[in-house]
Amino acid sequence: MTATPHVHDLGMPDVTTVSGAIDASIAANGPKQTELKAKDLKTDQEVRWCPGCGDYVILNAVQSFLPSLGIAREDMVIVSGIGCSSRFPYYMNTYGMHSIHGRAPAIATGLAASRPDLSVWVVTGDGDALSIGGNHLIHTLRRNVNLTILLFNNRIYGLTKGQYSPTSEVGKVTKSTPMGSLDHPFNPVSLALGADATFVGRAMDSDRKGLTDVLRQAAEHQGTSLVEIYQNCNIFNDGAFELLKDPTTGPMWTIPLVHGEPLVFGPGGASCVVRDDFGGLRIAETNQVDASQIVVHDAHREDPSYAFALSRLSSQDLRYTPMGVFRKVSKPSYDRMMADQLEDAAAQEPADLDALLTGADSWTVSA
């Protein structure tokens, strides 16, 4: 296939040969068009989310920033599961599969592992990724397959009309929990870091700049990236993230993560993050601590404990929520290692079907 110069290093290997038949079929199609505009990524399908849904904002942000990656749209594949967010592929003029509940990471793994030349994305939600598909999510993260997972977290089941989700706060009153939900919620970032994810970020649907920045870094990362996107469901869980979106309260409770910058936040930089006595992190008032005590954000730390401690600063009520890239470390990706094993095997022993079928202990019967 024609080597495509990417504007950004997407960590994608230069794959010259995928397989004879696949390669030939794609090559027959001519050169790649990598200069795209947002409208090139729209489809003729009417977008069917509820008016006012946060998903619209995310769709627009993705369509606007993707062309800047310099990837041909035919080289992008979006795989989703089931739920409101999982309708995403229908609205993107790329290849896509709207699959079954919870299984998108597994399906995307097979695609990404066998086609390292593609840019594979997973779009999922809190129910899809963390409840029915929890197992696939953690195993995908630990394997570090080269794909980018966008987890739209609205803390509710929207498509089934409003039951509590695995990220809903304790005591959530919904149709299935009239007296309040009993389960303790997952913190998706903590969960991903617990699975040793090599890239974990968080962004807000309405924050176009912050979202775009995290998405770009996620796309450029080689291996599995997980981006939790706080997304408002204005029908069943409206205002779920208002504390962070409100111009007055937002800055008080949001901790922006910028690699290499001290973790200072709040109006006038009044708050900061310092180390606690147990190796974790805590919030302090900036004027009460020495500047040297303030933690400088390091997303590249090999040990995930620091990023995990960051993720634990926030509670169910969203106070002290870090936003940005928690962790970004470089490890070999599964698909690359798999391709390497195939190459090594082929170099050691050329494929010979007749020799394989004959084996070591054959005999001949003469006429």
Binding site: M1, V18, S19, G20, A21, I22, S25, I26, A28, N29, G30, K32, T43, Q45, A72, R73, E74, D75, M76, V77, V79, P89, Y90, M92, N93, T94, Y95, G96, M97, H98, S99, I100, R103, A106, I107, A108, T109, G110, L111, A113, S114, R115, L118, N135, M338, L342, A346, P350, A351, L353, D354, L356, L357, T358, G359, D361, S362, W363, T364, V365
Partner: protein, 669 residues
Amino acid sequence: MTGTNTGISPAESGVATDMDRAAHSSAPGGLVKSVVELDRVVIRLAGDSGDGMQLTGGRFTSETASFGNDLSTLPNFPAEIRAPTGTLPGVSSFQLHFADHDIMTPGDAPDVLVVMNPAALKANLVDLPGGGLLIADSDEFTPRNLAKVGYASNPLEDGSLDKWQLVSVPLTSMTTDALADSGLGKKEAERSKNMFTLGLLSWMYHRPTEGTIRFLERQFRRKPQIAAANIAAFRAGFNYGETTEAFAVSYEVKPAPMAPGRYRHISGNQALAYGIVAAGQRSGLPVFLGAYPITPASDILHELSKHKSFGVRTFQAEDEIAGIGAALGASFGGALGVTTTSGPGVALKAETIGLAVMTELPLLIVDVQRGGPSTGLPTKTEQSDLLQALFGRNGEAPVPVIAPRSPGDCFDAALEATRIALTYRTPVILLSDGYLANGAEPWSIPAVDELPDLRVEFATAPNGSAEDGTEGQFLPYLRDPETLARPWALPGTAGLQHRIGGLEKADRTGNISYDPANHDFMTRTRQAKIDGIAASIPATEVDDPDGDATVAVIGWGSTYGPIGAACRRIRASGRSVAQVHLRHLNPLPADLGDILARYDQVVCPEMNLGQLALLLRAKYLIDVHSHTQVRGLPFRAAELAAVLQDVIDSTGTTPTAAPLEAASNGAVL
């Protein structure tokens, strides 16, 4: 069995033949030993799970195969890796039937039983016919081991085994004596007793020994001391046979006549894995296997994992669902997606199979069936997933189903399943079973360039216009008029971007559609596509050498051998019977209804409670006589023959036929 030779063989027909010709030879030391020529032998080796019976059986099989006998094997082992030593649940056995002619089964009962301890004796003696040869390792018949399985006295000494030809041999101590100078400790040396036993049997049946010596050298190349000990034990066993007075007779089973060509011996799982590699090579597609370990299918994962040089990717997934999901994702990208499992795994994969039906992508699902329901009998065989394969999904979700009939046939079945999957863009379920998976037989090695051409054409250009008339559109659900298959457009192909998924599709465009008429149309179209596969299936073969049968017996899958052997017995008794064996379970062959309608009675033996019989009754309104058994073991040919005889005689034809028992003369197949 070898190939498709269904001619009558004297022994399998049950007719006694006077093949035994004794000769005498002089062994070293002047001992006169006689050699008896046999046409067939069934040997069963039984011991503790840790005694290496499967390995010993496998080696004996290899020696026998390379000698040129036809053969069929039945490994039988517990689900526990190591049940407590010396107990009944820990008994593992391996049965091998070999002959100088074409055979179809591993034998109903052994002629020779080798037991390595009291538990093995207790578990297997019931199967050894009176007069059979019983070889026992006397060293292991200690009071403690006898007590473990409830023997009050030592059966090797108390006369309770008088109706058999008992040969009590101190196999363990002779092994340790032989290895006294090997430098190994007693415990380690004892572990070679299986090779001593193999050596003894190799002498007894005139097996070639070079292959086993090469195998041991290869197997233990990093542990030369162990290799040397095993080879020494093997030779000591052989020499013991030659010099001892305990065995005055050795046996010769001449090679079976086979069609000219190259042969090897092969197990079902191995043949299936090779079939998948070959399917990748012949289609030009990279193979992607997504699998989760499960008995008795794991060996396919193991085997395919060795063949990365063929571009085979193997992915050990976190669960059964991820295994098939990854395979389907790979198929979307243009790979030959494969998943391998057993019945419980198929249950978990059902939703993804439905997605593959909906997205109309090629996918091969291998179900190596085992005893069910639930965890059931993991290491035993059964054919009880037929209805699950056909109907175990939500909605109208038709899936082609095919089944191999012998270990070697698993190779061809894999290629045929792939042909259907690629041609019709559909998931295909291949139903093997535990008996085929672990059983072995000689296999005629196919010529690579004569294997089916499975190349596919991917979509490379737009194929139609949109509803508003816009030209140059790609319509992912525009179908091939002949096969009704949809185009396969690979990610990476410019201009053919499209979205597929589990929601109902509009015809042609593949867009989401909730239109009632469209859903009705698409549901019927998906069914018609699968039904249409029947047009590509060869005419059903009916094996009725006499041409006048009024009773037909129909089977599918691994019952081919036992049913075939039963038919030989029936024909040898002067009766006629027609045998029909199905490879394609969905769709059924187009001519099947007409064929079955020709017979007064149709008998359907199955290792389930009548699943194919249910289908045949429903589809063809035929009063099928269902004969079923779910013992975790293959049918015995003699039992099946008795069932067939009853049906044939009750239809009132073939008045000249002799009673089956008299004709069979007690021989076992």
